[in-house]
Symmetry: C2
């Protein structure tokens, strides 16, 4: 078991030595020792940088390196972000996200508990509050939380990783596209409908409403004619 070769002596070392999340790794200097990795500190740091970028270790200056819980998000986020910087469209990743949410929708809804629905209701109320009272704030945290809550209990690192990365990307590169008030108004009307369907155990209706509500994003909105602040 764990005979997996990750193409990196450092990563293989972490796995084969059985380090667990929270464990502290030997110092870089110690890793160069031939009883550990037997390579120069230079090479160790190169591969350490990879592990840090992927979010698998936390290197705290002057305090050492700790293994983190595995997460899919950092790899997806960085790669997709680089893709956007290279000219790839945000919409192509949004498409993936829409399809993934749609595909997992019903089974995710089936796992929702009463307190999750409460959270979603709070998101809707908070968003309406922000949208109704000037100065208008964009209810971005509510938007993120609303959708991620639906899939909270899926217990699939990869699915959740993609969804989380989507919202990170959204804040980084996509947010400016959807600042149209009427768009936001309609989106949150849909959210209310979606939640209502879920509360009534009409998961499929909720899913259809979700799909409809993603179609709102297809149209590039006109510029908002009033001032707006991020919230």
């Amino acid at each position: 078991m764990s005979g997996i070769n990750l193409g990196s002596d450092f990563l293989n070392y972490i796995v084969r030595q059985g380090f667990q999340p929270g464990d502290r790794l030997p110092s870089i200097q110690e890793l160069t020792n031939d009883s550990h990795l037997d390579m120069s500190a230079n090479k160790v740091r190169e591969q350490l940088e990879v592990a840090r970028t992927m979010g698998w270790v936390e290197v705290r200056s002057k305090r050492g390196t700790r293994v983190k819980n595995y997460a899919f998000t950092p790899a997806v986020r960085l790669s997709a972000l680089y893709a956007m910087a290279c000219g790839e469209s945000f919409e192509s990743f949004a498409s993936l996200r829409n399809h993934v949410e749609s595909a997992y929708w019903n089974e995710a809804c089936a796992l929702l508990r009463a307190e999750d629905l409460d959270v979603m209701q709070v998101c809707i109320d908070g968003a309406n509050e922000k949208l109704d009272s000037p100065p208008i704030h964009i209810p971005n945290p509510e938007h993120r939380l609303f959708h991620l809550t639906v899939f909270k209990h899926l217990d699939n690192t990869f699915v959740l990783g993609i969804l989380e990365a989507y919202w990170d990307l959204y804040e980084e590169v996509g947010i400016n596209r959807y600042m149209d008030y009427s768009y936001l108004r309609r989106v949150w009307d849909y959210h209310a409908i979606i939640l209502e369907h879920i509360k009534n155990n009409r998961f499929d209706d909720a899913r259809l409403a979700f799909i409809e509500h993603t179609r709102l994003l297809r149209h590039e909105p006109g510029n908002a004619s009033w001032e707006m602040e991020r919230g």
Copy 2:
């Protein structure tokens, strides 16, 4: 535009300088110059290692570094591979793949051309050949090509990246689970059904057959009672 911060001076440099796939980057030594990155060769190499791991540059020893076409696959493959090495189940990634394929199924089928169907038919014929004549080879390349061909024209880097990464992972960690002959036999019978449906433009029937055929993988197979070689 491209005001995206990638959290890496090196990556930001590539993007901001507008390097295109195929372009040669300055030598590491030159990058340390204050007219370029203005940092030590050590740091350059750390971040270069990240870019290489993500598959964005190709570092050929003694010949320099070239920018590659963007690809999502390397990031997904490495991160998921590390996840498996850390104990995450292959099935959780397989679930993502199944849902993604299912979600994009119909629109992908609609883009298929005659020559794509020919390729899929060749896969089926080749697989049957391998399965029917001893010594039995596992038609893994055919399996990969058959499924990837369906989504060939989707034109979505992220979707294709996940699907490709799935097959890389399958070969790396998942293949040993599905070496049961009767399983393979049934899978390829399904493939024939799927292709037939697609040829008749019954994409939804094809999709349902695909979903059924993924259910075959749920059961851990018994050991094959005869010798088998990978093909």
